[in-house]
């Protein structure tokens, strides 16, 4: 962590390097890491956008072509529309869940909070198959509707289908960040509002929601950028008229040398950074930090009987919708043949048998890869958040922009970039080729998921009052012990949220890893699912592997929550004796 880089004391003689503070050194190391594993590999691929395809000379012609093409302009508008609408629907899903569970004493609040993570873990391919089997034009729901009422609802068609799937998939970004923010609101703010006569919706609108703004905006920006850059969902719904699929289709075709794919990639990265910058503009000049901690959070009140029924109704409806893909996945994993019928023809345990006998190494690889990547992410995320928000380093904002730009880099571009940069680099200690070394998969996952952890850490740190650190320092604590004993513990919730999102999404990532897996013994779960899903007989086994991925992530989430709670209790029991 950042405190491990103590400034070295030069012993008076001339040194080549200027004296660096610990923070500056950390910043420098992070910048080098991001340069080596994100910026340079991506540049290796994307500079093609600036080349004349024939002569290889530098040119801006390709960008002119982009704006002269109707299809690309329409794609841009479609991508923007889908992202904005997904944020709206994700908010509609996340807001009641977050509010009810943090505002009221409510049985099952913890369950809802954990279940809220699960949509993020949608394993590739099988998730889409499960969704089509439930909501597709001949899915269970439409078959039943058609049979009993004689009509069908096109849930999964066109842009609306993309919005439907994306908001179900990505609303947890808002839920996690918004809940963390709501929990951190100083109760005295609320009490002050109540003293002044505010209550109910008005208080929510004027006091509570604005105070939770950092978390909400962090989540909403993530959803927007993620949907804007996501290509998996549009591709699986066979929607081509959006930017990310256009880029992907043009980069990955056999023998295609079309520079437009790279132009679109460049525009995706640039627009994502722009969207992030806009969300930062909103936050500028506002102070969201709260001084009190521990006794904080909104006052929880009990619900009346009628309100309880209503709350349960809302929550169960949302959960049913949100968990339906996983329900479909379960049916697929236990079902025999499922074709043009509301339910599978029969049920079997055979698919799990196949998976357990053939695929246990995928499970261990996934735990190691996703776990290590998430650890790297929260360490980097915390350090970057601290540097950006608390230090005066020159160019510190660029650390944030660089790390966040990873959101906009299509996995396949990063994968190809790594191959270009690191292939042929022989590692010491008999580790072999760097590009086929499994460690590189961890780095790729860490880089791709860093933005999630970073947003969560930033939001957490924004809510820690500077005065607490100043107090610690004026009591004689060094910078590093302030960070270790004051800042990080206060950020725990956000760091945990970051860890969980990074871990969960890394566990099912495929697009970069598919380029980097050197041997099948090094492959993670998502790759195993891909292998199964390439053949008709593998559909059930792929779904079974998908279920295992969901279980692993759910367990990971549960365990990390337990650890944090234990830690919190220990702190509460023995203040000042923490080690």
């Amino acid at each position: 962590m950042s405190d491990s880089f103590q400034p070295t004391r030069p012993s008076g003689r001339f040194t080549l390097f200027p004296r660096l503070s610990g923070v500056a050194l950390t910043g420098l190391l992070i910048a080098i890491f991001l340069m080596a594993f994100l910026i340079l590999p991506v540049m290796q691929v994307i500079y093609v956008a600036f080349l004349d395809a024939r002569t290889g000379a530098l040119t801006l012609q390709n960008f002119q072509d982009f704006f002269n093409t109707n299809l690309f302009r329409e794609s841009f508008v479609n991508s923007f529309y889908v992202s904005a609408m997904s944020v709206v629907f994700a908010t509609i899903i996340a807001l009641p869940l977050a509010y009810i569970t943090t505002r009221f004493t409510f049985a099952g609040a913890a369950v809802i909070q954990s279940l809220g993570f699960i949509p993020l873990i949608m394993p590739p391919f099988v998730g889409a198959v499960a969704m089509t089997l439930l909501f597709g034009r001949n899915g269970s729901l439409n078959l039943l509707l058609d049979q009993y009422f004689g009509f069908k609802i096109p849930f999964m068609e066109g842009l609306n289908g993309v919005i439907f799937v994306q908001s179900l998939h990505y609303f947890p970004f808002i839920l996690i960040n918004l809940s963390a923010s709501l929990r951190n609101i100083d109760r005295s703010m609320e009490e002050a509002a109540q003293n002044l006569g505010s209550s109910g919706l008005r208080m929510f609108r004027r006091i509570v929601f604005p105070l939770a703004m950092p978390g909400y905006l962090a989540g909403a920006a993530l959803v927007f950028i993620k949907v804007f850059d996501d290509l998996g969902t549009p591709l699986l719904l066979n929607v081509n008229n959006m930017l990310a699929p256009q880029a992907y289709l043009r980069i990955t075709g056999v023998g295609i040398n079309d520079p437009m794919g790279y132009v679109i990639s460049f525009i995706l990265v640039a627009f994502s950074v722009f969207a992030l910058w806009v969300s930062l503009l909103f936050m500028r000049g506002k102070d969201y930090a709260t001084v009190q901690k521990g006794g904080g959070g909104l006052a929880k009140r009990d619900l009346s009987q009628r309100e309880k029924v209503l709350a349960w109704g809302v929550i169960l409806f949302i959960l049913a919708l949100v968990l339906s893909p996983h329900f479909g996945l379960l049916l697929l994993a236990f079902g025999t043949i499922w074709s043009f019928s509301p339910l599978p023809d029969g049920f079997t345990l055979q698919h799990f048998g196949t998976v357990f006998t053939q695929s246990s190494q995928y499970i261990w690889n996934t735990i190691i890869y996703a776990g290590s990547a998430a650890v790297i992410d929260v360490i980097l995320g915390t350090a970057i958040a601290y540097i950006v928000l608390r230090s005066g380093l020159i160019g510190r904002k660029w650390l944030d922009y660089m790390a966040t730009a990873a959101l906009a880099v299509p996995g396949v571009v990063l994968g190809i970039g790594y191959l270009r940069m690191f292939h042929g680099v022989e590692l010491p200690f008999g580790l072999g080729q760097m590009s086929s070394f499994w460690g590189l998969i961890i780095v790729a996952l860490a880089v791709r998921r860093l933005p999630y952890a970073l947003r969560a850490c930033m939001a957490a740190l924004q809510q820690v009052a500077l005065s607490l650190e100043e107090a610690a320092e004026s009591l004689g604590a060094t910078k590093s012990s302030t960070i270790r004993r004051i800042v990080v513990p206060l950020m725990t919730g956000g760091i945990l949220a970051g860890f969980v999102t990074s871990f969960a999404t890394a566990a099912v990532e495929l697009s970069a890893t598919i380029m980097l897996v050197g041997r099948s013994s090094d492959a993670p779960l998502a790759y195993g699912i891909y292998l199964f899903m390439q053949s008709p007989s593998g559909r059930g086994a792929g779904a079974a592997l998908g279920i295992l991925a969901v279980v692993i992530v759910a367990l990971g989430t549960y365990l990390s929550q337990r650890i944090i709670e234990k830690d919190r209790n220990r702190r509460a029991a023995a203040p000042g004796t923490d080690h």
């Binding site: 093409t69 023998g255 598919i514 007989s537």
Partner: protein, 439 residues
């Protein structure tokens, strides 16, 4: 924490370093195909261990291109001959002298092996129409047996295929029809079929997936998808239209392979009579290239070496296909994949107008419909232009050959085509709607 991670790391490294005479094969084939071959090959050649690295065809090609500087791959094993052509053109394949007996020179008019000896056909594939029997029954549809059948209005919204730019096998299907029916008639056929499509899938496996799950009724697929789906119990059937092309799936040794001996041994095993038998495994279901293998094939298994198999099969012109490969992909995507909604609207309007005018004798309406049909079928370029190097070269930009003069940039050309197609589809819909409203 750090200690634990380090220990785990060291254990993993130790495990990975076990040495054997490995043969590394990069493949797009599923486990269902590679596992039986791996088991059979290792049993027959205990000295070797086959290491399978699975990637889809496109990713495999980029992987081999990117890693050529320090190659670690011995073999490439995939369906689409085009992918092998790309690798061959870039000098990534090695010419190997392989001993194989009993394999004829061609199957269904298509040469089985690369004339330069850089890759070898090991299994034949045909293209067909796969359909879901439950879907067909529920929707009361007749069974489509020929490509023309899929153009009929009753199939509107019931058909799926992949895009030729995404799937090498779909490209061959598109090209087969273009060669069999001619450039203009072939494209017209694809447009009318596409107007009936519910979706153009991004992966070739998306098509059998959609048919298996019943989200669509008919799919245009490479045969083994249909055969293997049926073998794994899905309520699906496969028919071969009489116009088809038989194309081999291939294997080739990579230039500068670390284990060239082992690579050659595996190729020879795959082509041997025992290796050919493995293809008849119910989960694989590919057509062997050794005619002798069919003697033990199950009842009803298609045999491309018999005269009654696909009588209309054409002699596929590989050079013609190669000269316009990316152009055909781009044209299909611009006119069909990316403008699916416009095309569907135009085709549906024409179909409705024809139904409304059925049995009536309104010459004016008939003329409008004919004009609308011509607009839907209109092409922005002629066959001669498509094979003209100065035009096709727009889509095969290569810095190796800067002397070939080309007429524009791909984005520019595509924008012109796109405007052409969108305007024509809109006009066709307008005319057809007018015709439908007439008495």
């Amino acid at each position: 924490m750090r200690k634990i991670l380090l220990t785990t790391a060291l254990t993993l490294i130790a495990g990975a370093a076990s040495a054997a005479d490995k043969v590394v094969v990069v493949t797009s084939f599923p486990k269902d195909l590679t596992d039986p071959f791996k088991a059979a090959f290792e049993a027959a050649n205990p000295a070797y261990e086959l290491e399978v690295v699975s990637r889809n065809t496109n990713a495999s090609v980029s992987y081999l291109q990117e890693t050529r500087g320090a190659n670690t791959t011995d073999l490439f094993w995939a369906s689409a001959p085009d992918a092998f052509e790309v690798l061959k053109a870039e000098g990534l394949l090695a010419a190997v002298d392989v001993a194989a007996e009993g394999i004829p020179d061609s199957v269904g008019g298509y040469p089985i092996n690369d004339p330069a000896g850089m890759y070898f056909g090991f299994a034949a594939s045909g293209y067909g129409i796969m359909y879901n029997t439950r879907y067909v029954e529920a929707n009361n549809l007749p069974i489509a047996k020929e490509w023309e059948d899929l153009m009929r209005p009753e199939y509107n919204g019931h058909v799926a295929m992949s895009s030729p730019s995404r799937s090498g096998t779909t490209h061959l299907t598109v090209e087969t029809v273009l060669q069999g029916d001619g450039w203009d008639a072939g494209w017209a056929k694809w447009k009318w079929i596409s107007g009936n499509m519910s979706t153009v899938t991004e992966r070739s496996f998306g098509v059998p997936d959609a048919v298996n799950s019943g989200s669509t009724g008919f799919g245009i697929v490479i045969d083994f998808f249909g055969l293997a789906s049926k073998a794994s119990g899905f309520p699906v059937e496969l028919v071969y239209p009489s116009l088809t092309a038989i194309v081999p799936a291939n294997i080739g040794v990579i230039e500068n392979a670390p284990n060239a001996e082992g690579a050659k041994a595996f190729v020879e095993y795959v082509l041997s009579p025992e290796g050919q038998q493995v293809l008849l495994n119910p989960a694989i279901m590919r057509l062997p290239v050794n005619p002798a293998a069919y003697e033990t094939a199950p009842e009803g298994f298609p045999n491309p070496f018999t005269p009654e198999f696909a009588p209309g099969a054409i002699a596929f012109d590989v050079d013609l296909s190669g000269s316009r490969y990316t152009l055909v992909n781009a044209l299909f995507d611009v006119m069909i994949t990316y403008r699916m909604d416009d095309l569907r609207a135009a085709v549906a309007a024409v179909q409705q107008a024809e139904a409304a005018q059925e049995g009536k004798d309104n010459a004016e309406a008939k003329a409008l419909i004919a004009e609308a049909r011509a607009l839907v079928e209109a092409l922005p370029i002629t066959e001669a232009e498509a094979s003209d190097p100065s035009f096709a070269g727009v889509f095969q930009i290569s810095r190796d050959k800067p002397d070939v003069e080309v007429v524009g940039r791909q984005a520019e050309v595509e924008q012109a085509w796109d405007a052409f197609a969108v305007a024509n589809y809109a006009k066709a819909k307008e005319l057809a709607d007018q015709a439908a409203a007439m008495n």
